[in-house]
Symmetry: none
Subunit: 401 residues, 2 copies
């Protein structure tokens, strides 16, 4: 992948500083009544002024038409080809709730489910049990005992939980037990490579004991496991970009994603204003700051157009604080789109803005999808964001003589 | 190639419906007198209104600067990488005139040519003999007799014909006999793989007998064969996209191309209005409708600017009929450009419009090259058209967690 190895060859350390401000799920769709997207509807005087001094464009997280999850969308923004570097579902689920996943651990995503008397799955989601009940059930599972393997089980939301196994020689080459359909029996965990046989037996033992413990419970009388995975081995931002990088995020998943690429996770407080303060506090210690704003995506996922507008306006308010630090490069964008009208992630390209002394600013009137579409950067893949940032921070040498 | 295997992994069946309306050779160049392209000169109130409600862009069939033939241009629109999936010249020529080509058949393109008394080619095109004369000559060749192999010979246009061989164990691993230059003798057909020896002998026997039959004719006293090829094995639209797809076309080549990717060919009548009617008649039976309008390209190829303008206006008139079906996605574009001023296919990117409930429409004033260049979709390869269509029809799952 050109953008990666090439950049790795050309990059040099320098004192210049880069901020990547990610508003999660930033891109939107027009409100049926006004025809304006969330970003167009928001009052964003700071971002609009910044856009007029910046290079703008639209980014595709994966490729046109593809809706990404948070994992691949963030890897792409960090410059890691999301089709080459994969993060397993189990690992992502565990990171998302702040569970520790160490090298060698195997993580899986779990569902509590309902079994009927014939041994078939009556409901793969156990009626979407309440999260509080889920937490009680997870505590019950702690009495499971496995030979020479420790594990942690933690509730996520409703019927979902995460489990992390820790021990010697564990493998993630395992099949799912969830048949993805009601009315069928759960599948046994099977090893897909010879070295995974023992881990498969351990996982099946975990499930058998879970079934015994939950036998009298209703509706959650069994568990399904899927997405067995280990920590991916990603080269770090230090190795690839020679950057000392810091992550400022509030939600565990984004701290986890950042730590996967070797960023130092810095306490981010509880609001986007706190996050901007954290950037300022640590300004001297790092060259690269990834700052993550979750509220935009959360509102979009809930289909709450107005709340997403407000979340954008909160982000707008911290822009002067960030500019006051005099970053060599300030980028504002999203990892993907989460239009409130779709109430979920989408494939739409994401507004992108790069502010630096070394841009050709073409006078975008404001920071929004339609003005970014006319920006000089055009439409480009998210994996090209890091090379652009490093270039504008004058950290990249010339290629060839 | 990302757009293909990835989409195959993510796609699911759904009741949503997609129309891909291809005006062949749509893209144009400015008329020297008016400075307007064919599309700009055409009166297209329906397409212009549609463009104002759509996402627009420009597509490159292969890559910038590359002029495609109809085969690769259409494969790209259907999402099949045209550099990976190749359709042989012989097969395309045969499909283009509606000859049946079955699995195992070998097709070749033929030229009638003129030989001089020294056995060299005096004219590779036999003075571009009249098509009627060509048909007579083809009937004469029917008396050729080959051992255990049947064949059909059919006139194409002027000196061009197509031949399809049918029999057991035929191979297309054969060299051309056309030396591509006058003044040289025809080359023998040679096998390029061991299993092709017998087919090479059969082809040479065909040529020898043709030479004997045509010996006294002038100017067409010999044949040249090239582009030996078999049907390519393409995964079907059903396999790749889980789509039940229909092709509505008038010309044989486009029906043939569509059938190569497993589309059901539906009778299209004789006009573009008939084609729109055919879409309506079969609306309940399919998820995907490829509708092909040939007249734009034919006029462009003839260098007839005005006729191409009229062909575009005819297409404009059927837009309300298509919209009346309430497709989830309606795309209007071309397979490639055929500017009347060039009187042939060209490399210029092609206007593209995607109408769906889930677009950010940026108020393109009209459907033309210059407004599409400013559209949010930007400039992108034709192979990304299908992923975009499927995304907007909500048929694609999320990539990664």
């Amino acid at each position: 992948m050109v953008g990666f190895e090439l950049v790795q060859d050309l990059v040099h350390e320098s004192p210049s500083k880069i901020i990547l401000f990610v508003m999660d799920g930033l891109g939107g769709l027009p409100h049926p009544k006004t025809g304006q997207t969330e970003l167009e509807a928001a009052y964003t005087p700071n971002l609009d002024r910044l856009a007029r001094q910046s290079q703008c464009g639209l980014i595709d997280p994966i490729s046109p038409g593809i809706t990404p999850g948070s994992g691949p969308a963030h890897l792409a923004l960090f410059g890691y080809d999301p089709l080459r570097f994969l993060i397993g579902r189990g690992v992502l689920e565990a990171l998302g709730i702040g569970m520790e996943v160490r090298d060698g651990d195997v993580a899986a995503r779990g569902n509590f489910c309902t079994m009927d008397e014939q041994g078939n799955i009556a409901d793969r989601r156990a009626g979407r049990v309440a999260t509080e009940r889920n937490a009680q059930l997870c505590r019950m599972l702690e009495s499971i005992s496995l030979d020479k393997v420790e594990f942690r089980v933690t509730a996520v939301k409703e019927h979902r939980f995460a489990v992390v196994f820790r021990g010697a020689d564990l493998s993630d080459q395992l099949t799912d037990t969830d048949p993805q359909q009601n009315g069928l029996p759960p599948l046994p965990v099977r090893a897909t490579s010879p070295g995974a046989q023992r881990t498969a037996e351990l996982a099946n033992e975990f499930i058998a004991q879970a079934g015994a413990i939950l036998r009298e419970e209703r509706p959650a009388n069994m568990v399904l496991l899927r997405g067995f995975s280990r920590l991916p081995h990603l080269p770090t931002m230090a190795q690839v970009y020679k950057l000392r990088s810091a992550a400022i995020a509030i939600y565990p998943m984004y701290k986890g994603l950042a730590s996967l690429v070797g960023m130092q996770v810095v306490p981010g407080g509880t609001t986007v204003a706190d996050e901007a303060d954290a950037v300022a506090v640590h300004w001297g210690q790092y060259d690269f700051f990834y700052m993550h704003h979750k509220a935009t995506d959360a509102a979009g996922e809930d289909g709450d157009f107005e709340r997403k507008v407000k979340a954008i306006e909160e982000a707008d308010a911290v822009i002067p604080r960030l500019l006051g630090l005099k970053p060599d490069v300030l980028m504002v964008t999203g990892d993907h789109s989460t239009p409130a009208t779709l109430a979920g992630h989408s494939w739409h390209p994401v507004p992108f803005l790069l502010y630096s002394r070394w841009v050709r600013a073409h006078g975008a009137a404001s920071f929004c999808e339609s003005d970014c579409a006319l920006g000089e950067l055009g439409r480009f893949p998210s994996v090209q964001v890091m090379p652009l940032a490093l270039a504008h921070a004058l950290k990249l040498d010339k290629y060839g003589a």
